[in-house]
Symmetry: C2
Subunit: 257 residues, 2 copies
């Protein structure tokens, strides 16, 4: 259980004045539906942590969950260890996204979160957040919505696992593309913050398969790749439905009366 690169909670969060109001991501983050005054109250309990470097853990499974986080810059991966000790990547976190919501139920983090590159996070003490949520219905609503939306993301991800390797990778790239563009970045040209192996792990494939798919896509003129630099040249959408409808998968609407 190596602790190299592990930044303990005593790493200290700096109580610099955090300004959600001017933050580029306020519209996707907690302040989304808060008014001026409410945002001010939120700012008061948000702290900014010192930067995480590549390989640093933001938290580990089993850590006491005393705060949730929002990513300001960089990229994270979240993962679980299965009973064999193998890493199972459950998601990637891009700037403006919240981390740790899935821990609401328990007092311990159920997963690991590691920086894929130098990253900045805001942290919000849970006790204070709960207090504030008690006081601000809008915030409460926003938390429910976020949680509920995450559930949809997972369900969508689930659907992908029924798909072919080709579909999985293309959906993955389209998803990244959408998330980048939603944040005002290019939808067709971006840098992957994760390795081929991490993509493969996330998608339930092998490194080799992912690599082969990238070259296949490139040969098909769908994209240009150079290491982690991606440029989508043609909409990948057509790749997403190459397979016939699986047998036995009739619409549920057709049922006996």
């Amino acid at each position: 259980m190596p602790t190299v690169g592990y930044a303990p909670s005593s790493r200290g969060s700096i109580r610099t004045p955090v300004n959600c109001h001017d933050c580029a991501f306020k519209r996707f983050c907690l302040p989304a539906y808060l008014d001026e005054a409410e945002t001010v109250r939120l700012e008061a309990i948000v702290k900014r942590n010192r930067p995480l470097h590549k390989g640093d853990h933001l938290f580990r499974a089993g850590d006491a969950m005393q705060q949730i986080y929002a990513l300001r810059s960089g990229a994270l991966k979240t993962y679980l260890l299965n009973q064999d000790g193998a890493e199972q990547i459950t998601g990637f976190v891009l700037p403006g996204e919240l981390i740790g919501l899935d821990a609401f139920g328990s007092s311990l983090f159920p997963s690991y979160a590691m920086a894929l590159e130098t990253s900045l996070v805001c942290s919000i003490a849970l006790t204070e957040l709960e207090e504030l949520a008690d006081a601000i219905p809008h915030l409460r609503k926003q938390l429910f919505n976020t949680l509920s939306r995450e559930l949809h993301v997972e369900q969508e991800h689930l659907n992908h696992n029924r798909a072919s390797a080709e579909q999985r990778l293309s959906m993955f790239l389209l998803n990244l593309s959408a998330r980048y563009s939603r944040r005002g970045l290019s939808a067709v040209k971006f840098i992957l913050p994760m390795s081929r192996g991490e993509i493969a792990n996330y998608l339930g494939l092998t490194t080799e398969t992912v690599s082969r798919l990238f070259t296949r896509f490139r040969l098909q003129g769908l994209l240009e790749v150079q290491g982690r630099e991606i440029q989508l040249t043609r909409p990948l959408f057509w790749v997403t439905t190459p397979h016939p409808v699986p047998a036995g998968a009739l619409p549920g609407a057709i049922i006996h009366a």
Copy 2:
């Protein structure tokens, strides 16, 4: 868009006095952490619906989400239709479990819910639930917990898709077993409420593969099957790790500092 067997909301919920207090599932349902007085207030807004028959929809994707549900008896499946119109089963609901939580964010149900057999559900009007949640912190907490736990279930389900067909089915059976036993039913002998095709769909496999796996398990002496009747004769746990650790799936802890 056939509506055969569709029970519209005007189907009418009966406002018989619902008694959560004596309900067999109160410990897994919303009343879980409520005290006596709070439970009484909850009971006041819970309605009981008329029975659903096999094939009936509890709700459909796009329906206005005015209430959430709790299953009292029977079994449901929830599913999405993908862009090809193919059914994608996202989960099965057993007695004592809540349905519709994933719709909190939006005002419309994102999925379909259909009865696999004759089923009874309680329904709770969302507006009233929100009011009550505003008033009862315990209830609010319980809702967050349930939502958060569902997120874990999804993540677990996701992990399964990285696994072999054998592992998927055994994990599925173990999961059912655990859920039944948690409710005081036998952990080793139970009736599957769903068809082979539905299991296959849920697990991302084909009917044939599932069928073959059942016979393989039977030949290995792991279980006895007769149609939908299952009897686990030996712990299936050993089946869940037949494969070597996938390459490139090293524990995340081993990273460069």
